[in-house]
């Protein structure tokens, strides 16, 4: 510090060095940051299973028409090492008309999920899965149950203690690059970093398909997951 005070030339030299270093860093990083690839493809989905009917042995059946279950879908994600990014946003998984809003929900590790009850009846969301065990208890429509942090990757199966037919699978992923196929099995992953990765199509705990992919700058790669 004393030398800076006493030597004016050094006082000027330091900002120049910093600026040069910054420019060099930007030049080095820019190609990687700019380099983005896209993967598109088709996952051949399993046939839709018939809906699990609501239990009704000892009380009035659930009122009203329960909407049909979602058509089958797959989760497609890119596995590999990715730099740390901002924390994932909070996600809502409502219960409405005696169903979870979706039956398969992919989230990034570290996501907090909220479970609003949009029915006039109680729901009691719980999970006994190893990556996340919790039991929300019974909550009214007007109440807000505490959000749950999903900080371990893996498969978390959600149920309602009151309505056995209500089910949802949360797939907690250690990657920011994932998507859910549409009902036809089509998917598109954009803004992917270049490099070598594994692309995975998750159709269920016992139906996981993988392919190695090499992504290049500006490339749109076509990857299909046909029935094996």
């Amino acid at each position: 510090m004393n030398s800076l005070k006493t030597n004016p030339s050094l006082r000027l030299a330091r900002p120049r060095v910093c600026l040069a270093a910054l420019v060099l860093l930007l030049l080095a990083v820019a190609p990687a940051a700019r380099a983005q690839a896209v993967i598109e493809g088709l996952v051949t989905l399993a046939a839709a299973a018939s809906a699990l009917p609501p239990g009704q042995r000892y009380q009035n059946p659930v009122g009203g028409a329960i909407p049909p279950p979602e058509p089958p879908a797959a989760i497609v994600y890119l596995a590999g090492k990715f730099p740390e990014t901002t924390p994932p946003p909070r996600v809502q998984l409502p219960q409405k008309n005696f169903r979870f809003a979706t039956e398969v929900l992919p989230v990034r590790k570290g996501t907090t999920i909220e479970f609003p009850n949009n029915d006039d009846f109680y729901h009691n969301v719980f999970s006994y899965s190893k990556p996340k065990r919790f039991d929300l208890g019974r909550y009214l429509k007007t109440e807000k149950p505490p959000g749950q942090l999903f900080d371990q990757p893996g498969v978390v199966r959600l149920y309602c203690e009151i309505h056995e037919h209500m089910r949802c699978t949360v797939l907690v992923l250690d990657t920011p690059h994932f998507t859910k196929t549409d009902a036809a099995g089509k998917f598109r992953l954009a803004q992917l970093p270049v490099g070598a990765y594994t692309l995975t199509a998750w159709l269920g705990e016992k139906m996981i398909r993988e392919q190695k992919v090499e992504l290049h700058d500006g490339q749109t790669l076509r990857v299909d997951f046909p029935t094996p």
Binding site: Y58, N60, P61, G63, G64, D120, F126, Y128, G137, Y139
Partner: protein, 446 residues
């Protein structure tokens, strides 16, 4: 039964001593005293079941897959039939003759139970249920060698999409009260039933007392479980038809069945009582919001079983002696708490005695301590009315009782659950069966 008899006024309102283990009843055929070793042995077995059950957890992922695959369905789901299994293993340890609806005389007993449920749906309007059960009797140890039965079979028609009206016929649980909704081993926070649903008292469905004195003498002998009744016998899977539904916040149910609420399992099938004295039961309930469920129930029907040993007064018929029951129930739930309460008053018209009344109630609370652990506490009480004793006075026709049940439960996952329960019963008068009961239950469901 070889139980001793006592003079009519002996021991009435006698406060009995507190510890049952070393006490004996003169001339009782039942073992009344047990070594510390036997009790320790039983306690060890119970604790072993409770503590080792979680070890099975890692093996239950295959139960998940099995659970998801036990069904048959058409491609469009119009027809679907689901098979589900509920298996339970229960251990009971008492100081002496088991209380309530635990049959047999063995103070340490193991009771396995296997229930198979077949839920079938055809479209949105037809539903059927069959429950096949194998166990050592509907009530533990009533059939020590084991027996398989169809406990429930019903067909239900729901004409509209909304559950405004449902028509149902078959053999099924009663619509009286709310306990039926949680009576199976998976949903019941406890191992046994509340006092009104299992406390045997001196009303018999097979024999009529020859005098008031003879009727009053019954209260001084051990429960004759094969001959006497309870206010409601468990879920009362009697046979008949019902109409029930929900209109906005109002629930209603009306059923006509072949046997009374108090009737024993041996007369629950449709062919058992010839429909000579049908029982009508109704419940009206309201749910102001999701947290509350309040209801009132009524039931009336004949409880006596016509048989050669039943000697009724001349010109009287079994239908002249009904069981009439009214009850109210309430439940409340909030977050990890659940509360239930029922109060039931019942009147039996007893030949040569008159109306024998009793009133019972219970308060029940369950709290989830963690995702897996829960605890529950239940307070039960039953009071008996007075009947003419034949000498110009009146006497209580059975012994008032209270019981407290405490349970610690461990729901290990969606398929495994274990419970450990302690019950203590306090009864006025001489101690005729165990006042303490320690029990454990392991349930597997898929």
């Amino acid at each position: 039964m070889n139980s001793p008899t006592y003079p009519a006024n002996q021991s009435q309102n006698v406060q009995r001593p507190t510890l049952a283990v070393e006490r004996s009843l003169p001339n009782s055929p039942f073992p009344t005293s047990y070594s510390l070793f036997e009790i320790r042995h039983s306690l060890f077995a119970i604790l072993l079941v409770f503590l080792l059950a979680p070890a099975a957890r890692s093996e239950t992922s295959w139960l998940d897959r099995l659970d998801d695959s036990l069904f048959l369905s058409t491609r469009d789901g119009t027809f679907r039939t689901d098979l589900s299994v509920l298996a339970a293993l229960e251990l009971y340890s008492t100081g002496r003759r088991p209380p309530g609806l635990l049959f047999g005389n063995d103070p340490q007993s193991i009771n396995p139970r296997l229930s198979l449920y077949l839920d079938t749906r055809l479209g949105n309007h037809l539903y059927s249920l069959v429950q096949l059960r194998w166990d050592r009797g509907f009530d533990p140890f009533a059939k020590p060698d084991g027996i398989a039965r169809f406990d429930e079979y019903l067909l239900r028609y729901t004409p509209f999409t909304e559950p405004w009206i449902n028509l149902q016929a078959g053999k099924f649980a009663t619509g009286f009260g709310q306990w039926v909704h949680r009576h199976d081993s998976w949903n019941n926070p406890f191992i046994n039933a509340p006092l009104p649903y299992e406390n045997i008292f001196t009303i018999s469905d097979k024999s009529a007392p020859l005098s008031a004195a003879a009727f009053l003498n019954r209260r001084k002998v051990s429960d004759r479980k094969a001959d006497w009744l309870a206010t409601l016998w468990g879920p009362s899977y009697t046979s008949g038809a019902s109409v029930f539904g929900r209109l906005q916040k109002l629930d209603y149910a009306l059923e006509v069945k072949n046997a009374s609420l108090s009737s024993r399992p041996t007369v629950w099938d449709a062919i058992d009582r010839n429909w000579s004295d049908p029982t009508v039961t109704a419940r009206l309930g309201t749910r102001p919001n999701a947290a509350w469920d309040l209801g009132a129930s009524f039931s009336r029907g004949g409880y006596l079983i016509a048989n050669p040993a039943l000697t009724l007064p001349a010109g009287r018929h079994t239908s002249d002696f009904p069981q009439t029951t009214i009850g109210t129930d309430i439940s409340y739930a909030w977050h990890h708490w659940q509360f239930w309460a029922e109060a039931i008053a019942t009147r039996f018209a007893v030949p040569r005695v008159g109306d024998a009344d009793n009133f019972s109630y219970f308060l029940e609370a369950k709290y989830k301590l963690t995702t897996s652990l829960f605890t529950a506490l239940r307070w039960n009480q039953q009071f008996f009315g007075k009947v003419p004793d034949g000498t110009g006075g009146t006497q209580r026709w059975d012994q008032d009782a209270w019981r407290i049940d405490a349970v610690l439960g461990w729901r290990i996952d969606r398929h495994l659950q274990t419970k450990l329960q302690y019950s203590y019963t306090h009864q006025l008068g001489p101690l005729l069966q165990a006042d303490q009961l320690l029990s454990a239950q392991l349930s597997v469901k898929f």
